[in-house]
Subunit: 271 residues, 2 copies
Amino acid sequence: MDSEKEFLSEYNIEDFDRPSVTSDIVILTMRSQKECSYRHDPNNRLSILLIKRGQHPYKDCWALPGGFISRGETIEECALREVKEETNILPSALLPTGVYSEDNRDPRGWIISNAFTSVISSENINPKGGDDASDARWFDLSFEANDSGEYMLLLTNSDIKLVAVLKETKRSFGTTSFEIVENSSLAFDHAKIIASSLSTLRSRADNPQILFDFLPEKFTFAELQRVYETITNETVLTANFRRKMSVYVEPTEETTTGAGHRPAQLFRQRK
Amino acid sequence: MDSEKEFLSEYNIEDFDRPSVTSDIVILTMRSQKECSYRHDPNNRLSILLIKRGQHPYKDCWALPGGFISRGETIEECALREVKEETNILPSALLPTGVYSEDNRDPRGWIISNAFTSVISSENINPKGGDDASDARWFDLSFEANDSGEYMLLLTNSDIKLVAVLKETKRSFGTTSFEIVENSSLAFDHAKIIASSLSTLRSRADNPQILFDFLPEKFTFAELQRVYETITNETVLTANFRRKMSVYVEPTEETTTGAGHRPAQLFRQRK
DNA sequence: CAAATAGTGTCTCTAAGACAATATCAC
DNA sequence: GTGATATTGTCTTAGAGACACTATTTG
């Protein structure tokens, strides 16, 4: 019987057919939409960071940040590196949100993508296009079921408007996946990845940690509630939300000022 | 500017360094431990399906079923195929449970593994070793935190006993991952994959669908409860559990017989 | 009947939902 | 004061936990 050492010395992994591996990252933040009138609080929108592809395939289409894994790094390190290179933003945490391995999902060949979701506070959200991408921008995001049970994904950025229609499939273990029915100009199967990411995020909105990820260190209860409502696409009563969340936050000495109405106390996450 | 067609005709994906990709599958079932005394109901144990590796590396060690992806199949299809080939069991559903891409996790080289969890009813759980594996067997499974906050993973099959100690790391978004502290004879980083799978499963035990996956079509309330208690490692009061689950099941005409005590009605999942 | 499990009724407690009421700022 | 949001209090309701009680089988 051969020893393991002998086996390995004769084993050449490159003799076998194998795919390329990429990561794609859904980066979300919450941006306030300033209303015109004085003393009227801003509404929030969920925003997603997309890059304009500078090369083929899907040249000039909008796509998720991401790219090929390099030897010696984990897929999570790959994801962080690609986002940093392409948008100059460095997310602090990654939520795995699926593996995409269908044949023909990429015209360049056999490419398997690992998707991640990340959330950043609206403090430092100024992306800049890096080497690989000609442009990086935030898109306002809307994702809702329409009458026929299909989901409509809408991404807008002033003059640009991207639309996709997706069909939801419920799977075992309470998971869901999406199929693309229509897709205007999102690259690859990225509409599917975004839909799946948002679906995952919504199902986890009851985890308070996710809400804090969207906010700066100090925040008001109203801001926290707006984050919750934006993610879940539901409204809750202020009094009840305060009661439920009070366990997870602690007050600071500071308050807001100059808002044209009663100032709000600032809170921080209770560790 | 080059057209996409020209770009692709000159693009050769094999010019780039790339990893091999595998899937590893945690297959669980619930087996009853028949007690000796008459009219005493059996206890349940969570069991996991392992194969004895027939080749290097980790030859003769026990490992999760799994293997390399082939061109043209998705990673999920790869997982199902490998399990079928190696154990002659065909799971009906897969729960994605993580990507393992650390360098040096496999002595053969750069190999990224996608892990899945699957659950089957105890009806047809007779595996047989296939081509790639010299042997396939069910191991009783125990996974509990010890005094020092580390988790102990114990896999036993009559004469064989596999042990691993793992350290839990809480991550953002409510996810957790594990690091191997000690490992007797489980191949690769499979102790880590198993720990992560069980942790995921426990966190989803409130999803009734998972409980039904462990059971045949018709079952008693007691069996359902034992599945729940075995997964969560907690005990609940019968009356309360019945009330909670009654929404998800519907009664059949049948009952059990010959058990030495009051017969139990058989239920099935309400769709 | 005894032993064992199957199944029901109900009290309590907690958390969520609804909503009224009060507080405090900028103008 | 007015208009806006902040913050508190409390009534109601739904569901989980505890636990006592009844029912039905085999030997």
